[in-house]
C-alpha cells in the first residue's frame, strides 16, 4: 500500500516532456517534487503563475508570490504572472496538458465530486469545475477509501458533482485505474496489494483483465 508520497511518485511518471501541468491542492502539489529532472515541464497554478518553482528559503519568502493552495513559492527561469481571466483562458482553452487533482468521490463513468458535503462542509469548487470541464487529461490522486473505510470509487457519486465524465485516470494508495466505458479498469496494483483487496475497496464496476503488474516506484 502507498502513502501520499508514493501516490505522488507514481503520478509523477505520468508527467511527460514539454507538458504544462496544473496541480491541485494536497497530494497533487507533492507531484512536482518527483518529476523526472531530465524533462522540460512547467507548472501552472490557477491564481496566476506559470513556471512555479520550489518553496522559498526562509529569507526569500514573498507574500506576493503564492500558489493556489496559498503556499509561498518561487519562480523558475521562464516563469510568468498573469491575471485570473488569463489563467482560465489557459485552462478552458486547453493550453494546459495535464490536470492533477484530488477527489472525495469518483464514479465508474468518470464523474467527480470534490467540493461540498451538504450540511457539513462547503469549501467551494475553486477552479476545479473549470479544470474538469475543459481539461482533456485529468488524473485524480486520492485514497481508495475514506476515513471510515468506505470506497471512494463508486457506481454513482453520492456527493454534489464537480464535473461529468471527465476523469481519465485514478491513482490511489492501492491501485492505478483507468476510466473506461465498462468501468474502472485496473492497470496496476500498489506494491504488496492483492487484486482481492482492490476488489473489496472498489464499490463501482471494476474490470480486471489479464495479469495486473505491480507499480514501479523508486
Amino acid at each position: 500500500m502507498l502513502d501520499k508520497i508514493g501516490i505522488a511518485k507514481r503520478i509523477a511518471q505520468e508527467v511527460k516532456d514539454r507538458y504544462y501541468v496544473n496541480l491541485g491542492i494536497g497530494i497533487p502539489t507533492l507531484v512536482a517534487n518527483y518529476v523526472n529532472k531530465n524533462i522540460e515541464v512547467e507548472f501552472q497554478s490557477e491564481n496566476g503563475i506559470l513556471g512555479m518553482g520550489a518553496f522559498p528559503y526562509d529569507e526569500d519568502v514573498d507574500a506576493d508570490i503564492i500558489n493556489a493552495g496559498k503556499q509561498t513559492i518561487t519562480t523558475l527561469p521562464g516563469a510568468s504572472f498573469f491575471d485570473s481571466a488569463t489563467s482560465f483562458s489557459m485552462i478552458r482553452g486547453k493550453h494546459v496538458d495535464l490536470t492533477i487533482l484530488g477527489a472525495m468521490e469518483v464514479s465508474d463513468n468518470g464523474d467527480i465530486a470534490n467540493w461540498k458535503i451538504p450540511g457539513k462542509m462547503v469549501k467551494g469548487m475553486g477552479g476545479a469545475m473549470d479544470l474538469v470541464a475543459s481539461a482533456e487529461n485529468i488524473i485524480v490522486a486520492m485514497m481508495h477509501t475514506n476515513k471510515v473505510g468506505e470506497s471512494k470509487l463508486l457506481k454513482k457519486c453520492s456527493l454534489p458533482l464537480t464535473g461529468l465524465n471527465c476523469v481519465k485516470k485514478i491513482v490511489t494508495n492501492l491501485a492505478v485505474l483507468e476510466v473506461t466505458s465498462s468501468g474502472f479498469q485496473l492497470l496496476e496494483r500498489a506494491p504488496g496489494v492483492s487484486i482481492e483487496t482492490i476488489k473489496k475497496a472498489t464499490a463501482g464496476r471494476l474490470v480486471v483483465k489479464g495479469e495486473i503488474p505491480e507499480m514501479k516506484i523508486s
Binding site: A63, F88, V122
Partner: protein, 234 residues
C-alpha cells in the same frame, strides 16, 4: 492627463452605502485591498453583497467584515479558510453563491468589457448549472453565465500613477485587473503612487481609463496563509 489621485481610503470610498454590491480583488490574502477593507469596517456599511474569490480568514481580509455581520451575501469560488464564514453559511445567516473560479474571473472581465453573457462548460451537469440556460457547441454542453453588476470595484496594485495606470506584483495580480472597470466606480489602492510620467507606459498592466479613484495605501500587512519554506542543507 486626467488626475484620479485621492489622499486616502476615506476619500476614495465616498459614496459607498449599505446594500451595495462591491467587488474586491485578491486571492486568499494575496493582493487584497487592505486599506479599503479597514475603511469599510470603519464606515460600518451593512448588508453588502461582496464579489471576491475568497472570504479572507477569521481575523483578516473580508473576515473582518464578516465578523461584524456587514456582509449579507458573498459571491466566491472558495471559502475553505474561514471558520466564521462556514458557520454563518451553514446556519443560513449569510447568503452564499459559490461559482467556478474561471467563471468568476470571466464574469468580472465580461462586466468590464461590455459583454452581457458568455458560455462556458464549467459547472454543466452540477448544481451550479441549475436554472441556467445551457447550449451545445461543438458537441459539448455549456452554461450561460452573465456579467456581474456592481456599484464599486476595489482593487489593490503594487505601483500606480495619478492617471490611474496600474502595475501589479507577482500573484497579487489575480482578480484585480479583471475587476478594474467592472463596476460603476473602480477604486485602486497602491503601495507606491507616482506622478504621471514616472511609470513606463510599456510596463502598465491596466490602463487608467478603467480606474476612477486612486490612492496610496499604508501599513500593508500582507499576511501569509501558508508559510512554506525549503530548508537549507549545509
Amino acid at each position: 492627463m486626467i488626475n484620479k489621485k485621492l489622499l486616502n481610503a476615506q476619500e476614495a470610498l465616498v459614496g459607498i452605502k449599505s446594500e451595495m454590491t462591491i467587488m474586491l480583488g485578491g486571492f486568499g490574502l494575496c493582493g487584497i485591498p487592505e486599506n479599503s477593507i479597514s475603511e469599510l469596517v470603519k464606515l460600518g456599511v451593512k448588508n453588502l453583497t461582496c464579489i471576491s474569490n475568497n472570504a479572507g480568514v477569521d481575523d483578516f481580509g473580508l473576515g473582518l467584515l464578516l465578523k461584524d455581520k456587514q456582509i449579507d451575501k458573498m459571491i466566491s469560488s472558495y471559502v475553505g479558510e474561514n471558520n466564521e464564514f462556514e458557520r454563518q453559511m451553514l446556519s443560513g445567516e449569510l447568503k452564499v453563491d459559490l461559482i467556478p473560479q474561471g467563471s468568476l474571473a470571466e464574469r468580472c472581465r465580461a462586466a468590464k468589457s461590455g459583454i452581457p453573457a458568455f458560455f462556458t462548460p464549467a459547472g454543466y451537469g452540477t448544481e451550479v448549472g441549475e436554472g441556467k440556460e445551457s447550449r451545445e457547441f461543438n458537441g459539448k454542453m455549456h452554461l450561460m453565465e452573465t456579467a456581474f453588476k456592481a456599484d464599486f470595484s476595489i482593487v489593490k496594485a503594487w505601483k500606480g500613477d495619478e492617471a490611474g495606470n496600474l502595475i501589479f506584483k507577482g500573484t497579487a495580480r489575480n482578480f484585480n485587473p479583471n475587476m478594474c472597470g467592472a463596476a460603476k466606480v473602480t477604486v485602486a489602492e497602491v503601495e507606491e503612487l507616482y506622478p504621471a510620467g514616472e511609470l513606463d507606459p510599456n510596463e502598465i498592466h491596466v490602463s487608467g481609463i478603467f480606474i476612477q479613484r486612486i490612492f496610496e495605501g499604508k501599513n500593508y500587512e500582507k499576511r501569509i496563509e501558508q508559510r512554506t519554506i525549503t530548508n537549507r542543507q549545509c
